[in-house]
């Protein structure tokens, strides 16, 4: 059952991830990216990360993608000509070379490892909001506070950049 769910969600994530990068129009890319993030959220459930699942759906598939769609529709960008329609073979070749090298590197790293990791039964409270919150306010208190400063700077920066007149 777990394998079946994993296969389905993984296939959905991969297909939608591929469709994100081949779409002509940015709106379709954004919609497929939402589906990819939804599939990843399902995988987080399989991995018993309940808090991360909730944040993934709320922040990523919700807030960030709404921001993306809002900007895409605000800009009203005309459809881009995709690289393979332009016959821009140099660019595609370079990208594929990069992709093959990177994927090869990652897979070599993965299969050169020894031993096997088996999922042990998790400790009680694993992945729940309570556990995450407790950790955030004890062991990770300083990074947590720094995060709030980053978000404040981001808000101010976005306001300044998006102002009407850039002097």
């Amino acid at each position: 059952m777990e394998l079946l769910l994993f296969s389905g969600l993984a296939t959905l994530a991969l297909v939608c991830g591929f469709l994100v990068i081949v779409q002509r129009h940015a709106v379709y890319s954004a919609l497929f990216l939402i589906l990819t993030m939804g599939a990843l959220a399902g995988l987080y459930i399989l991995l018993e990360a309940h808090f991360v699942w909730a944040v993934q759906v709320l922040v990523y598939a919700g807030a960030i993608m709404v921001l993306f769609l809002f900007v895409i529709m605000l800009l009203n960008v005309t459809t881009e000509e995709v690289p393979w329609a332009r016959r821009d073979l140099g660019r595609i070749g370079l990208a594929l070379l990069l992709a093959v090298v990177l994927l090869g590197e990652l897979l070599v790293m993965l299969f050169s490892g020894t031993g096997t990791a088996t999922a042990r039964p998790v400790s009680p409270g694993f992945g729940t909001t309570e556990t995450v919150g407790r950790l955030l306010f004890t062991r990770f208190l300083l990074p947590f506070e720094i995060t709030s400063v980053i978000l404040l700077i981001a808000i101010v920066g976005a306001m300044v950049l998006a102002k009407k007149h850039l002097s």
């Binding site: 991830g17 990360a49 990523y60 897979l107 299969f111 998006a162």
Partner: protein
């Protein structure tokens, strides 16, 4: 049957590479940005998978911080794209050559 850790890591690697291809081939700044989001998500999947298989919560805390930074990045990045579009009337990165020597 249980899903092995390597299955999650391979899925994560392939998603990351898809993001890399997107960044390298596309010229629309918005789609490049979405490809970067795809890469961030792929890494998050690795974090959560390791967290589960090591029975340790640290990976999930990291995912929380990655998401916070990604949110800040998206807000500022989209504001930059808006400003560029206002000044240059384009989001095509091939036409933004002001810094090209």
């Amino acid at each position: 049957m249980q899903v092995p850790l390597s299955a999650y890591l391979i899925l994560s690697a392939v998603l990351f590479v898809l993001g890399v291809i997107g960044v390298a081939t596309r010229r629309n700044a918005l789609i490049i940005f979405m490809s970067i989001e795809l890469m961030l998500n792929a890494v998050n999947l690795s974090f959560v998978a390791f967290s589960r298989f090591h029975n340790s919560m640290d990976g999930q805390i990291f995912v929380f911080f990655v998401m916070a930074v990604a949110t800040a990045e998206v807000a500022v990045g989209l504001a930059i794209i808006l400003a560029i579009h206002r000044n240059r009337e384009t989001v095509d990165v091939a036409e933004l050559n002001l810094l090209k020597w």
